[in-house]
Amino acid sequence: MRRLGPLGRILVVWLVTSAIAMTLVAVFLAPHLPPGSGSKEAAGQQLDNEVLTLVSVFVVAGVFTYLGYALIAFRERGDSDGPPIRGNGRAQTIWVVGTTVIVLFLAAFGTYQLLGGAGGGQGAEPVFVPAHSGQSPLQVQVIAQQWQFTYRYPTEGDFESAHLVLPVDRQIELHVTSLDVIHSFWVPALGLKADANPGADNIAYVTPEKLGNVQIHCAELCGLFHGYMFGSGSIVTPSAFASWVASERRFVAPVTHYLPAYSTTYLPDPSFRAG
């Protein structure tokens, strides 16, 4: 340690502290990072968040180690100026190459995760359709309006419900649209976020893997009661889902025949324009 110059010592301290910090973060913090493992997509996003946190810890450790040394060791002494160092080609090259490599790695890793469908709303023509085993994906349409989400199940009897109930371990193909302004359908526990635009169909895939209740929020300012546009949904077993479908269909039967035909977008008459 004594034979290394100050830069060498900073480097060693950086590597040691970042190794310790990254290990601590990976063991204690990373499992608690959002969005958790409520779905396959969420698990993919959590892995991304973990990798990004570790990279950030690495970078922060470097900058803090350097600054901690420099701000103490290089305080003013008398009235003199410092040495006229205007640059160092090697340091600049190492930095440029190093940061570019980190960035390229993160971009590649993110793209790889995207291929697995971890990307939330993909628009009307999704490219990254995750593979699914077993049954075909369950179609659920999320209809956003000021200030409530409703859910239409076109393949389960074409009814519309105010409750989101999904079967576990089956891929869900969500079609998110809006009736008036821009909303955003966000289920943090499932790693699902898809904006709802009027006249547009935003498709997202999710395969829930844990039973239980999930929080639903609107994540795009949609007017006065945006803050109240939240609720909860349930992930249930396939048999519980089937019985819920049956009972919900009975419950909403009086109004089902008022529904317009199923379509990926619904637009009000232009003379009833928003506002």
Partner: protein
């Protein structure tokens, strides 16, 4: 030396001074224009039999009349100030009035002046005032968020507060460093005596003042419910306070475009002999890159908002899906402006930090060309990343890997700035003055701001955090922790030069430490709140998040108090202590510090010939300019 003091009002009684083109006339004509537009608009809409205006006429909120009122009000205001005097005089062949060239008296700060130094100080006070207004809005927002259920403001008022805070800050602080400091100092740094277009420079200031007043008036017209991004179609539903928002950004956009034009023209054409691009102070490079972005990005915003205004008044369907339009169009247009806009906010901060660090580390700027490459790289790449605001909006999913890559890539040139800052500190002789503390605060804050940006640039991670408080934490760290900290660094560093009075060092340190600790205490928990699922712009939240929100609100109040400490310092130092500032209180080698404090009316006695860059610390015999600019009042 010739006496250059000019007072066209010499010998006139006071009441004669009030007549003619000045701020009072401007305000009167502005109000007159407002009412003319208001009643004229009502007459127009109700009198003409145009089907698309019938809808407007039937409601009791007449957007056409409010737009006309604002437009004619601003026109009256500018005419009353005297902006029409010079063009009209030249048109008619008469010699123009010299009122705008006044060089003495406090009155010249309250009207149209073409002296870049006067405009710089006008900007400082004007932007400072609106910054305070935006800050008070923030305090009111945090009061609301003390309790999970709505406790103080009805939902509509809360959204108006959120919008007013964001819009005021984004519109005003865009010119936060370029307005006061580039206007005052750019000519001095490049060895010129004025900006390229002095009257346009004055126009940018007064447009901004009119804009800020209009935005505040939105409160009287039903408020603005959309947040600073003004998304369609919510924009269309809104009360006619929305028109005030549109006018605000239209005027700010014009001001930005002209400011950028002026800065670029000045730096390109008016550098002193010997001032090559490689000898420019790095702050000037920051201004140049910012100005280029301003010039090119602001018109896109103005166009998008004009389209929104037409949607709101004459029933066009640009952004209305049932009429064949698309809400995506607005998002894309807005963010095509919006992303370069945030680099417009960040780049002057880069320039300030890299300009100040050499002075306080007593070393040349480390990696000058790399720093320039970083700034230029950021400016160029900022055009290629805007879709990252739309990752989950339903854009074509093929686009997302590209924009993820481009957004990640922009962190590389940003990193150059960090490298140059850290390299400048290496083996330096660091003096911990108040400006230096704010620069070090920038390094700390922007590090976390930038790293959280990496999270947001990664699409899967963005699915977790888009539209949540994580985004709020990210941009407050970069904009407030970045721009505002450098704004204060610039104030403490250059205000002695601009006013000739020193700011109190001890109060400055109290200000810094209170602000730094309170700032981090306020915004760091927001990362956690975002991770815990709290969306943005909400008036209620799950009750288990109340503890964190209360901590954030308490810290925000302390942050507000730190601003009061600064205000106290300003008032105390400028009005009571009045310690005269030496010409070069920091020992800088830059051109502006070779002139007396405050800078005399004519700037340079003789335009210098430049022989080196202003970073010759530690280099024997380094000469910046010839003849040596010994300040007339003696060196301290």
């Amino acid at each position: 030396m010739t006496d250059l003091s000019l007072d066209p009002n010499a010998g006139r009684p006071f009441w004669r001074r009030l007549l003619g083109f000045n701020l009072l006339t401007g305000l009167l004509l502005g109000v007159g224009g407002f009412y003319l537009g208001w009643y004229g608009g009502h007459w127009l809409v109700n009198g003409l039999d145009v089907p698309s205006l019938d809808y407007v006429g039937d409601t009791d909120q007449n957007d056409v009349s409010l737009f006309l009122a604002y437009i004619l009000g601003v026109a009256g205001f500018l005419i009353g100030l005297g902006f029409g005097v010079y063009p009209l005089a030249r048109l008619r062949g008469y010699p123009p009035s010299l009122r705008e060239k006044e060089t003495t008296g406090v009155g010249r700060y309250f009207g149209l002046s073409t002296d870049h130094k006067v405009i710089g100080l006008q900007y400082f006070i004007g932007i400072g005032f609106f910054f305070l207004v935006g800050g008070i809005d923030a305090m009111l927002i945090r009061v609301e968020l003390l309790r999970p259920e709505p406790n103080v403001w009805p939902a509509g008022n809360y959204l108006t507060l959120v919008t007013e805070h964001g819009t005021m800050m984004m519109g005003m602080m865009t010119s936060g460093i370029l307005g006061p400091f580039a206007n005052y100092l750019l000519p001095l740094m490049i060895g010129a005596r004025r900006m390229a277009f002095p009257r346009i420079e004055a126009l940018t200031f007064w447009l901004l003042m009119a804009a800020g007043t209009i935005l505040i008036s939105a409160i009287g017209f039903g408020g603005v419910p959309t947040g600073w991004t003004g998304y369609e179609p919510l924009n269309l539903q809104a009360n006619y306070g929305m028109d005030a928002y549109i006018m605000f950004f239209a005027l700010v956009g014009i001001s930005m475009t002209l400011l950028g034009l002026n800065m670029l023209a000045t730096v390109i054409t008016m550098r002193a002999p010997g001032m090559t691009w490689r000898r420019l102070p790095i702050f000037v490079w920051g201004v140049v890159t910012t100005a280029a972005l301003m010039l090119l990005a602001a018109p896109v915003l103005i166009s998008a908002l004009m389209m929104a205004a037409f949607d709101r008044t004459v029933q066009t369907g640009f952004f209305v899906a049932p009429l064949g339009g698309s809400s995506y169009l607005f998002e894309n247009l807005f963010w095509f402006f919006g992303h370069p806009e945030v680099y417009i906010l960040a780049l002057p901060g880069f320039g300030v930090v890299l300009e100040l660090l050499p002075v306080f580390a007593r070393k040349p700027l480390w990696g000058y060309r790399l720093a320039v490459a970083g700034m230029v790289g950021v400016a160029l790449l900022s055009w290629t990343v805007w879709q990252h605001h739309l990752f989950v909006s339903g854009i074509d999913s093929d686009l997302r890997p590209f924009y993820m890559f481009s957004t990640e890539l922009i962190s590389v040139p940003t990193g150059f700035i960090f490298l140059c800052a850290m390299g400048t500190l290496w083996r330096g002789r660091i003096r911990y003055t108040v400006p230096m503390l704010f620069c070090l605060g920038w390094i700390f804050n922007f590090l976390f701001g930038g790293l959280s940006g990496i999270f947001l640039s990664d699409v899967p991670s963005d699915v977790t955090t888009h539209g949540s408080f994580f985004v709020m934490a990210h941009f407050h760290y970069t904009i407030m922790g970045g721009l505002i900290f450098t704004f204060f660094a610039a104030i403490y560093y250059w205000l002695p030069k601009m006013t000739g009075l020193m700011l109190d060092e001890r109060l400055g340190k109290i200000h810094f430490w209170t602000m730094f600790i309170a700032f981090n205490s306020t915004f760091a928990p927001l990362f956690a709140l975002g991770f815990m699922g709290m969306p943005r712009r909400v008036v209620t939240y799950p009750s288990d998040l109340q503890g964190l929100n209360d901590w954030v609100s308490a810290s925000a109040f302390v942050l507000g108090i730190s601003m009061l400490v600064f205000l106290g310092n300003l008032i105390y130092s400028m009005l009571f202590a009045r310690v005269p500032a030496p010409a070069n209180p920091w020992g800088s080698k830059s051109l502006e510090f070779q002139l007396p404090s405050p800078v005399p009316v004519h700037d340079f006695d003789r335009i210098p010939v430049i022989e080196g860059d202003p970073y010759g610390y530690g280099e024997d015999g380094a000469v910046v300019a010839r003849p040596s600019l010994r300040p007339a009042g003696g060196e301290a």
